[in-house]
Point group: C2
């Protein structure tokens, strides 16, 4: 039976979950040369995988695996990420912040703090158009939530057109994709192709009433161009969970940019129960010699 | 062809919509004794229907028709309300405020105002249990949205068990219904049976981490008991759109109650395009002698 290295900021939760489901599996929490399997946070595993010569499979607890994509690190193992479990959480985040905006929740709060009854007119998601950059498992889930609330859904992807909840696909010409959107949501991973993709030309193509949300990676955004668009009122607002540098540096312009909400990379946390279930499923596939789910292509980067 | 009295706080929008769809219909905006049809806000129509001896059908622009249920007013006409159109708006409101709560949006905002990166753990709607008091067309729609986000749905109703998105129905014993709920949502209309239904015994049955939302009518709530439960931390929070007296009086205790959000009766506004479509549909039924949709039972009150 192969030996598993577990390396996580929350090892106790994972240990309990794995031991309950896979009582025969030998689990260590410190690197050992004979570990054939690894499970954990890419930010921790990147420092030890060079010392795991027998590694055959690594299951990441995160969706993003950038730390493990460093070309100096070994790639002679199968890397799987936690792709399948963040869709519901991301959908909650996106729909929640769209509703915060449409329902004027912060304006209601401000009125309340002044003891003021204020019959603000409300917006609605129904009939609005949302553009999703990235239509993988997360994007497809967000598309389903958007459809539930009666939105029109545009998808920007270079991959297949497999999501039934996307009304129209774009594969190039991001400004054309952005034109007329009420909401633009970036869900793209950090790859060479996605860096600085959301630049001044894309922001200029968005209507002034549009809202931009970033739950993918900060690297996809020209942060100066975004701060400028918000400061000049050329964009209604932005909700950012991810940034080029995290934690966001104390002197970053975003702390002083109007109509910007910062959520400190909390949109889709890895709940141990979800991630452990995913590992267990893949582990059963591994011992049965079946192909693993959610494999990462080291070259593509996701 | 029957003559229509249109009485609304927004007559121009309705006039344009009706004239475009029903060019032959004669519409007046001041009461005339020969009006057989009326369409408008119950709060305005209640003052004039005694002077409409030929009234055969009145379409309300609101869901709640309390002003027209005064026993001193005539009831010799068919009353229809705007029951069918508020489901999506109410669902947005309920889901939006549940997510404001679960995603710690106000805490994130407070951190941001202190320039502080704060990786708050987030809650999720998935796996939570929501209790809906009232499972008519609005409640059924909220139930569908709750299911979309993976919640378990309890329905409290004295009517039929027709909603496929409700997992379990209760018809009596409100404290038993409330026990173990993560969220309690009141959607009940104002009737004799619903007054002060949410009293200290129901609030005591809710877990301390529960959230209470009221989008039905303020009359359903013992407001003193609710303020006390919130002040003593026996309830996590409340989001109230409706109140026993509206606008909420400036000296009302709710303005000083902790963990309470007030949204000034804006949860489900009557958008003229929606309500006009509903009138037009019912008008076609009326002229063809078909039964009208969304009829109100004067005795039941909804």
């Amino acid at each position: 039976m192969p030996k598993l290295l577990l390396l996580s900021q929350d090892p106790d939760s994972y240990l309990a979950l794995l031991q309950a489901a896979l009582p025969g599996l030998e689990i260590v929490t410190a690197p050992a040369a004979d570990c054939e399997l690894a499970f954990g946070d890419p930010g921790l595993l990147k420092d030890v995988i060079a010392g795991l010569p027998n590694l055959r499979w690594l299951q990441s607890t995160w969706a993003g695996v950038e730390p493990l994509l460093n070309p100096a690190l070994p790639r002679t193992y199968t890397l799987t990420n936690a792709r399948g479990v963040f869709g519901p959480l991301m959908s909650e985040y996106v729909i929640g912040y769209l509703l915060l905006h449409e329902r004027n929740m912060l304006q209601h709060l401000a009125s309340q703090q002044q003891n003021r009854w204020n019959e603000l007119t409300t917006g609605t998601l129904r009939g609005k158009t949302i553009g999703l950059m990235g239509v993988g498992s997360i994007g497809a889930h967000v598309a389903g939530a958007a459809k539930h609330f009666g939105m029109t859904v545009r998808g920007f992807t270079r991959a297949s057109e497999a999501c039934p909840d996307v009304d129209v696909y774009f594969h190039a010409d991001l400004p054309a994709f952005a034109e007329g959107l009420d909401y633009l949501v970036n869900i793209l991973p950090n790859t060479r192709e996605t860096r600085q993709l959301i630049d001044s030309s894309v922001l200029a193509a968005l209507p002034a009433h549009a809202l931009f949300l970033n739950v993918g990676r900060g690297s996809a955004v020209d942060e100066s161009a975004l701060a400028e668009a918000l400061s000049q009122g050329r964009l209604r607002g932005a909700v950012l969970d991810v940034f080029q540098q995290e934690p966001l540096p104390p002197d970053h312009i975003f702390w002083r940019t109007p109509n910007l909400l910062i959520t400190s990379h909390t949109a889709a946390p890895s709940f141990p129960a979800d991630i452990a279930a995913l590992f267990i499923e893949n582990y059963r596939r591994f011992v049965n010699g079946q192909p693993l789910k959610y494999q990462v292509d080291f070259e593509r980067g996701y």
